[in-house]
């Protein structure tokens, strides 16, 4: 079947089959490889993208369900000039990236958190990140990065 959706502010139409997953079309058909497949069953958070504004495990969304949806991945956070989003920059500056596999999902979770809560407490960041499993950083620098981005976005008036 043919589906039409918006991804990273760009409208796309694709021929998909009913058994394909949103993660498959994002990574394989569109070549947007930031979202990762970790467990493939909605438990690890590595494939987190925003789907109509809410974080979802894209491995649990069937491709036909994306018809008419608005999807945002890490690739869509870059500015038009290709500059990193404050969250991405903060992840680099805080040393939050080790192997990097969970990072695209953690960034999308952080992005959604800061929309509702632009100055989250440490506990609130941890609660939001509870669905994004990281095996190597111990989370501390990921939490630091989200709080650093929050402070910079507040100071810069950037609420995007």
């Amino acid at each position: 079947m043919k589906i039409t959706f918006t991804i990273n502010n760009e409208e796309r139409s694709l021929e998909v089959s009913s058994h394909q997953r949103l993660l498959d079309i994002i990574r394989k058909d569109l070549g947007l490889t930031a979202a990762k497949e970790g467990c493939g069953k909605g438990e690890c958070g590595a494939c987190t993208v925003l789907f109509n504004g809410e974080p979802v495990a894209s491995c649990l969304v069937l491709a036909p369900q994306a018809d008419g949806a608005e999807i945002l991945t890490v690739e869509g956070l870059l500015s038009r000039e290709g500059e990193l989003h404050p969250l991405q920059q903060a992840f680099l500056d805080a040393g939050a990236v080790q192997c990097g596999f969970c990072i695209p999902g953690s960034i999308m979770t952080g992005y959604r958190l800061l929309q509702d809560n632009p100055e989250p407490e440490r506990e609130e960041v941890c609660q939001a990140l509870a669905g994004n499993i990281c095996r190597c950083t111990g989370y501390q620098k990921i939490v630091d990065a989200i709080q650093l981005a929050a402070r910079r976005m507040q100071a810069g008036g950037d609420s995007s």
């Binding site: 467990c39 069953k41 438990e43 690890c44 040393g95 990236v97 080790q98 192997c99 990097g100 440490r122 960041v125 941890c126 609660q127 990140l129 509870a130 669905g131 994004n132 499993i133 990281c134 095996r135 190597c136 950083t137 111990g138 989370y139 501390q140 620098k141 990921i142 939490v143």
Partner: protein, 317 residues
């Protein structure tokens, strides 16, 4: 205490090379795999320090049997120590060759020369100056390739088959001490680790943020080992092969870790550095189990200490 490197007399070495490439670029060839622990960052920092040249000039040529030589595995807490050492030797060899050939170009002696930011210059004659890349091109015209190669082959000692003793079982030893604060909920059996303090002997922290990251990650893994992670096998089958039944720590489970880096330099490590990957996690589980004992007076000898085990132990006492 943790002995790093393969140990027990097993052959263990790393080979690297460093060479100028196109204008402004220096290639470091090493097959050391970076799985997120940061060996490539460390390699760049070491070469940058030796050659007095900013890190952005360096590129890593990663593991490829056609273009790199053996660096051994990224395991046994060995890459900073082994590949760090090989890269330091390679950068020093390149620097030696730069001095050797530039002294011929300048007709001067090594002590009268210097290098900085990719420039080679004479202290005696200010007209004598060229970049590393100009020197490389001049040598290429003479059929000479400008590069440096470094190897690290530490002696390893087999243990005595009778006693298991050896002169030095591992090439080096790292030390890690950790203090944790835990709260035990005696109604639910839930253990919360509220704070961890770490002191780790890194020899010389080539990248302090990387050392902290490894300690924080190791603490999370040690916490999982102490309180959560249990593979349940029945008749050869794993009954919990997923993240919803084999639980690993999430952001709400881990404490903030305060890390103090102790720099007790190793004689063979690059700039005195030791390996800290695995030692970063070994202290956490014992510290948590001792803290639980301190809190409720019960000694546990089997991990993980789940809420069920705490409840059962409290009911028995």
């Amino acid at each position: 205490m943790f002995g790093f490197g393969y140990g027990e007399g097993f052959p263990d070495h790393s080979i690297a090379s460093v060479e100028p490439a196109g204008e402004g670029r220096i290639l470091i060839r090493t097959s050391a795999a970076d799985v997120g622990q940061g060996v490539q960052t460390v390699a760049v920092q070491i070469a940058s320090e030796v050659l007095k040249l900013d890190p952005e000039h360096f590129e890593i040529v990663e593991g490829d049997t056609h273009t790199t030589q053996n660096a051994g595995s990224s395991s046994a807490t060995r890459q900073t120590y082994f590949t760090g050492h090989a890269v330091k030797e390679a950068a020093e060899d390149l620097l030696g060759n730069i001095y050797h050939y530039a002294s011929q170009e300048f007709t001067t002696n090594h002590p009268e020369m210097g290098t900085r930011d990719g420039r080679i210059f004479s202290h005696v004659n200010s007209d004598d100056e060229m970049t590393i890349w100009e020197l490389k091109d001049r040598l290429a015209n003479r059929g000479i390739e400008l590069k440096g190669r470094g190897t690290f082959f530490p002696r390893t000692y087999k243990p005595d088959p009778e006693t298991g003793q050896s002169e030095k079982v591992y090439v080096g030893y790292s030390y890690h001490t950790q203090v944790v604060e835990v709260v035990v909920d005696t109604v639910t059996g839930q253990v919360t680790v509220e704070k961890a303090y770490s002191a780790i002997d890194a020899g010389k922290a080539i990248n302090p943020a990387g050392v902290e990251g490894q300690v924080e990650g190791g603490t999370a893994q040690g916490l999982g080992m102490a309180l959560m992670e249990e593979q349940i096998i029945e008749e050869g089958r794993t009954l919990n092969p997923d993240m919803s039944r084999y639980l690993v720590p999430t952001a709400v489970d881990v404490p903030e870790v305060e890390t103090v880096i102790v720099e007790n330099e190793d004689t063979d490590g690059p700039f005195g550095a030791k390996g800290i990957g695995e030692p970063a996690m070994i202290a956490t589980a014992p510290a948590i189990i001792n803290a639980i004992y301190d809190a409720i007076g019960v000694r546990f000898y089997q991990l993980p200490v789940t809420p069920e085990k705490i409840k059962a132990a409290l009911e028995q006492n």
